[in-house]
Amino acid sequence: MTVTDSQKMAYVAAQAADARVNLQFETEDGMTLNMGPQHPATHGTLRIVAQLDGEQVVRCEPIPGYMHRGYEKLCEVRTYPQVTTLINRIDWLGSFANEVPFILAAEKLMDVEAPPRAQVIRTILFELSRLGNISLFLGDLGIQLGGITIGFYAFRDREFVLNQIEAATGGRFHPNFDRIGGLKDDLPKGWIAETHLAMERMRRLCDEFEELVLGNEIFQARTRGIGVIPTDIATSYGMSGANLRATGVDWDLRRDACPPGLSYDLADWKVWTHPDGDSYARTWIRLQEVRESTHIVDQLLDSIPAGPIMAKVPRIIKVPEGEAWVATENPLGEMGYYVVSKGDLVPFRVKIRSASFNNISVVPWVTRGVFVPDVITILASLYFILGDIDR
């Protein structure tokens, strides 16, 4: 390994800066509050170092990396089918959604297209994982703000969605169901009817959330005007998904840049935006998204075409040389894979662009001058999954 002088210098500088983070926080005026890596508000192992003046945050620095698993490196030693079992652990709440962009990228490089039936079922499962993910957000936000009851409701009704995912894929959390050229298996009998019922439950959860949390005056006082992120800042940080739509940007990859292989055009649905850009707006957007999502699933369930679920692909998958970037609108925001193939069994390089990484990098900007409880509100409303930051 050649280490040039400039690298050495950079390394030394970084060491010093690393040490400075701790030192500086401890010696300057005011108090430093170290939240995490084990802290209830950071669901996962995110560490947040906040320099306080009384209850007010002077500076706040998230320190990720306590769960870094090096997926980009690991992907380089795994064959394409093996990679999906790995990457559905990135955002572990919406794990099927993690597989899709990678599979689509591989399909793009191979010029394979999944049969229509597989595409529709894939889209349904994609939306189910969105429901499983965001419904937990609804519950978690309540828990972070002190209203624990909604957390239990969310877990209760999310169960129905997970059961459907399990009934189809066999895995509640890590389906590993998406394959290059289609899906692993077809749906079991009775699944469609049960999924309709689960969607009914999810809509009920939305109503309950609206009554119990969103409409609550205390909740509104806690979230309105807190953590306002203007559009420019949001795009500059690369925030995506509901966080970006909450700043008034009408942009949804499912509608605007839906990669082939997903059939969102078969459903009639709406992209919601909110002009405020605060924590309330982010919550509201996600609530509406869950509702839209249930409608998408309902419509797609009724329009599953008959046919095979797997295109013709070789048994041993070698992906032709090339580079492909596919991004989809995952529950947390834009998730993309930049896949570089050298015509081998394994990808040469996989750059994983995960949504939470960009979404959370805005935290130092947005938490300046807020109160400590607002840090919790902002973190909860930005909504991150730690695996999605650390990868």
């Binding site: 509050l33 209830p40 209850e55 309540g142 703000l145 002190g146 624990i148 009851t149 006082a221 409880p373």
Partner: protein, 345 residues
């Protein structure tokens, strides 16, 4: 009236001993009852769960089992903690709770000490817990505990005022500070000339009742006013460093105080041990009284815990603003109106 059923003359020390034993058994029991009925069972039902099922019939002994578990746990004191203050803090909190029970009347004769300034005494000793909380927060040598303790200090002091001011309305109407006299005033009262139901002050003092409920919610640091112990930010606040039986003290203190406050609210606003139809001067009142009081306490406690399981929490500055800008002016207005009406009518 004294000695209607306890006709036996007891020496002072005998009376004291009985009272001490009653208190020592009663107070933890009340905490257990509230904990099981509301924290375990009602909360579970409100969250589509069944709650604990294993310990005892339908899990009713779960809290006793938890208490035993706490006793077995290692007593950890942080290295840099102020050991004496750290150890003393739970005792101070619990002492404040115990003292509150002194003036609670459960019947015409069933009261540990019928002080002429009963409610004043209750308010005074209940604010003692703030000292314990601050001690715990400060002595733990933990930033979360410190923040939680200071938040609790600020909050308890802020909500002490609406609490007392809300009580003032009742006191003006009853014309006495004694808890027994307040009960009697409600028993003797009449609504539009109809005296069969007496006059529970919740009817005339409805505003004071709501202010009182909000204030005790804050005094108990329960949602929506649980910022000092918010587990999602300060991870339990002032008791974050406590383990074992010291934590148990805080836990017991919290629920016993909830019971005491519910009892005060029941006495001040719902007529305490008095039941319509039972002659308060008869011996029967001493038997029915405790039951009636218990039922009323459970009603009030249900409200307290219902709010607790439903609402998210206020931010620290918001709850201060709520106290100073809304509750206190409202309470003052209530006192003024009550005073005018009492003089005019």
């Amino acid at each position: 009236m004294s000695g209607l059923i306890f006709a036996i003359e007891l020496a002072y020390w005998q009376q004291t001993l009985i009272k001490v034993l009653v208190a020592a058994v009663l107070i933890p029991t009340t905490a257990l009852i509230l904990g099981i009925v509301f924290l375990f069972k009602m909360m579970s039902w409100m969250q589509s769960r069944m709650g604990p099922q294993e310990a005892g019939p339908r899990g009713l002994l779960q809290l006793a089992a938890d208490g035993l578990k706490f006793l077995q746990k290692e007593d950890i004191i942080p290295d840099r903690a102020d050991r004496f203050v750290f150890k003393a803090a739970p005792v101070v909190v619990l002492a404040s709770t115990f003292l509150t029970y002194v003036i609670l009347p459960a019947g015409p004769d069933l009261v540990i000490e019928n002080l002429p300034t009963g409610i004043f005494f209750a308010m005074a000793v209940s604010s003692l817990s703030v000292v314990g909380v601050l001690m715990a927060g400060w002595a733990s040598s933990n930033k979360y505990a410190l923040m939680g303790g200071l938040r609790a200090g600020g909050q308890l002091i802020a909500y002490e005022l609406p609490l007392i001011l809300a009580v003032m309305g009742v006191v003006i109407q009853a014309g006495s500070l004694s808890m027994q006299d307040i009960v009697w005033a409600q028993a003797d009262g009449s609504m539009f000339g109809f005296g069969g139901l007496g006059l529970p002050f919740v009817i005339t003092q409805v505003l004071a009742f709501f202010i009182f409920m909000a204030a005790i919610q804050a005094e108990l640091t329960q949602p929506p006013f649980d910022m000092p112990v918010a587990e999602s930010e300060v991870v339990g606040g002032f008791h974050v460093e406590y383990t074992g039986f010291r934590f148990l003290f805080f836990f017991l203190g919290e629920f016993a105080t909830a019971f005491a406050f519910a009892a005060i609210a029941a006495t001040l606003f719902l007529g305490g041990w008095w039941v319509p139809g039972v002659d308060p001067n008869s011996a029967l009142a001493n038997v029915v009284g405790p039951i009636a009081l218990f039922v009323k306490i459970m009603v009030v406690a249900f409200l307290i815990f219902w709010f607790r399981f439903t609402y998210p929490r206020f931010r620290e500055d918001q709850l201060q603003r709520f106290a100073w800008k809304y509750l206190i002016p409202l309470a003052l207005a209530n006192i003024t109106i009550t005073g005018i009406l009492v003089v005019v009518l």
